[in-house]
């Protein structure tokens, strides 16, 4: 019997996280003997739409994609529906009113990640006295994770009036920008800064360098919270320079493939497949490090 053909449209390769995500999907597809049609959209929604259309033309069995942005998918999804191809969304949902346009959505909840970070800080706050001045390194302006991680975080810290965000600037999810912006913050605010909240590990790692060059001790003088839990973050934590990182797992491959198989086997899937994600404080880093895959 013929292989299942899965068309997958990836956002791009803008970060280690994304690369890990892609690899996981490719590897499991190979392992599960699924014929994967992979297409990289280079961060452009129009490219993704084109890719989806080409999947229709190629008459694939299942279409899965990680939307660049939540909005604006109705037209193409309707076309796919018309072609009777089931759709699976990964790591970000779409905001279509018509939920029949896709079978299921699996992946992380950026807002929840923001909340986790917030909760950790609120806990931590109990051990700190006086005002707690937070500087925030946002992701790329307008990008989904940036918006949601900011939202979730602010939502929680509202509860603790002592916590104030005194500076917030974009670091484009990159180390270089993260470092550059942090440098500027340190010059402008100096010793006032108590906490750094970075929307991803890379920016945090960049910022850590800036902090050290400013003659301060990361995590001693400035508590550092970040998201993703990539290897680099764990190394930083083991070196005692990063306090905590919230996991955002890119390893969707196994889940996706089993979902695809179930679909083809005619099973019905839950509307939402949540990925179990932890939060790793410094203490557990050394223990956790060996079994990190990304």
């Amino acid at each position: 019997e013929k292989k299942i053909v899965l068309g997958f449209s990836q956002i791009g390769a803008e970060s280690e996280w994304r690369t890990a995500n892609t690899n996981s999907i490719k590897e499991t597809a190979a392992k599960e003997g699924i014929d994967l049609k992979f297409s990289d959209a280079q961060q452009k929604q129009e490219n993704q739409i084109k890719a989806l259309r080409s999947f229709i033309a190629q008459k694939v069995d299942v279409i899965a994609f990680a939307p660049v942005v939540e909005s604006g998918w109705d037209t193409v999804l309707k076309e796919i529906k018309a072609a009777k191809i089931p759709v699976i969304l990964t790591d970000r949902s779409v905001d279509s009113k018509d939920t029949s346009l896709y079978v299921t959505f699996m992946g992380s909840d950026f807002t929840e990640e923001g909340r986790k970070a917030g909760r950790w800080l609120v806990e931590k706050a109990k051990t700190m006295k006086g005002d707690i001045n937070v500087v925030e390194l946002q992701g790329t302006v307008g990008s989904g994770p940036a918006i949601d991680r900011k939202k979730g975080f602010e939502e929680i810290i509202k509860a603790e009036p002592r916590i104030k965000i005194i500076r917030s600037q974009t670091g484009d999810f990159t180390r270089a920008k993260g470092k550059e912006v942090m440098e500027a913050f340190l010059k402008a605010e100096g010793k006032k800064i108590n906490v750094l909240y970075a929307h991803n590990d890379d920016m945090a790692i960049g910022a850590i360098q800036a902090i050290e060059e400013a003659g301060l001790k990361p995590s001693k003088d400035i508590t550092i919270i970040s998201v993703d839990a990539v290897k680099g973050a764990f190394e930083a934590m083991m070196a005692g320079k990063l306090d905590v990182t919230v996991e955002c797992s890119p390893l969707l491959g196994p889940q996706l493939m089993s979902a695809v198989k179930d679909l083809m086997a005619g099973k019905t899937l839950p509307r939402r497949i949540v990925t179990v994600e932890g939060i790793f404080p410094m203490e557990v880093a050394a223990k956790e490090f060996p079994n990190r895959k990304y």
Binding site: G7, E46, I49, S54, G72, T75, G142
Partner: protein
């Protein structure tokens, strides 16, 4: 075959396009279908429109980097007006077009009046338009208005299992209008003259100043129109839409056989430039085995092959 030397780049582009299409058709199944080729037009309608505007700018020897951001801004404003302010399209769309034209005119005026460099002025315009998007909203605004979605999803069947969107048709109309403008109107010819030599054009008593401003206005208008088409394509406004579109547009124009130094080229060429770029992408998507980085490398390689062949083709014929 005796053909006028000035048509060479155009001929080169077209024949190379055909060659690539044939290659795709033989190597990937499902590639050779009317719909796949119509999709080239549907998926790139906005690019066609934007690139047409760009063609005029480049023909004068100028350049317009702001197009991508203006497209984004247009989608943003339109989405905001329709979705949040509940304007009706009849009002919102003309306003957006007006905005784009105005911005273009402003940049053109700066360039012409103060002898500023197009590259920089339009670069600033690019920052400005992009920035204004975020001022409206950093998040994307999806458009749910019924008439809008209806229009967006209308398909005009050409023949069984092959249909085009309204945008595609609009793009073709714009193209035709542009061809007429470029080759049969005083404005169009003045554009070519300026590209040939601005000083000479001036000494020949041509309306250089007016035309320069008009050209950038036109480009602004096309970008705004492209933005409108884009919203029909995406049904959303978003500050991160159409990033790097200016490069695609410029590439399309140049691949279409227009010289960046100005004065030489054809609007039709631009269409094929766009289609060629679209085709390159389609080929890669149908291949479906390329990793993210190989995708980039292959796009580059195909671009290289295309341009080099085109070049050799010209040299050979000369």
């Amino acid at each position: 075959m005796k053909l006028n030397a000035k048509y060479l780049p155009l001929v080169a582009t077209v024949s190379l396009f055909v060659a690539m299409a044939t290659f795709g058709s033989v190597s990937y199944n499902g590639f050779f279908s009317a719909q796949v080729f119509l999709n080239l037009l549907i998926d790139n309608a906005f690019l066609v429109i934007v690139a047409v505007g760009m063609t005029f700018v480049i023909l004068t020897g100028g350049i317009d980097l702001s197009v991508g951001s203006v497209v984004a801004l247009s989608t943003m404003v339109l989405a905001e007006l329709v979705e949040h302010q509940h304007w009706n399209l009849g009002l919102a769309i003309p306003l957006v077009l007006l905005m784009g034209t105005g911005l273009g005119a402003f940049m053109g005026w700066l360039i012409q009046r103060f002898r500023l460099q197009p590259f920089i002025v339009t670069l600033a315009g690019m920052f400005l338009a992009r920035g204004l998007c975020y001022v409206i909203s950093i998040d994307s605004i999806s458009i749910t208005d019924e008439t809008y979605t209806a229009l967006a999803q209308t398909r005009v069947p050409l023949w069984p299992d092959a249909a085009v969107s309204l945008s595609a048709i609009l793009a073709v109309l714009v193209l035709l209008a542009a061809i007429f403008m470029a080759h049969a109107t005083e404005f169009g010819r003045t554009v070519y003259a300026i590209g040939g030599s601005e000083q000479s054009a001036m000494l020949m008593g041509l309306p250089v100043a007016r035309t320069t401003v008009l050209v950038y206005s036109l480009s602004g208008f096309c970008s705004a129109l492209g933005g409108v088409v884009f919203t029909f394509y995406m049904l959303s406004g978003y500050g991160l839409h159409a990033i790097g579109l200016e490069l695609d547009a410029i590439a399309a124009v140049v691949i279409g056989g227009t010289l960046l130094s100005g004065g030489v080229g054809y609007v039709v060429g631009t269409l094929f430039g766009v289609l060629a770029l679209g085709l390159i992408q389609t080929l890669i998507m149908f291949d479906g085995s390329l990793s993210s980085w190989w995708t980039r490398i292959v796009i580059g390689a195909l671009l290289l092959v295309f341009c080099v062949l085109q070049r050799l083709f010209e040299v050979r014929k000369k």
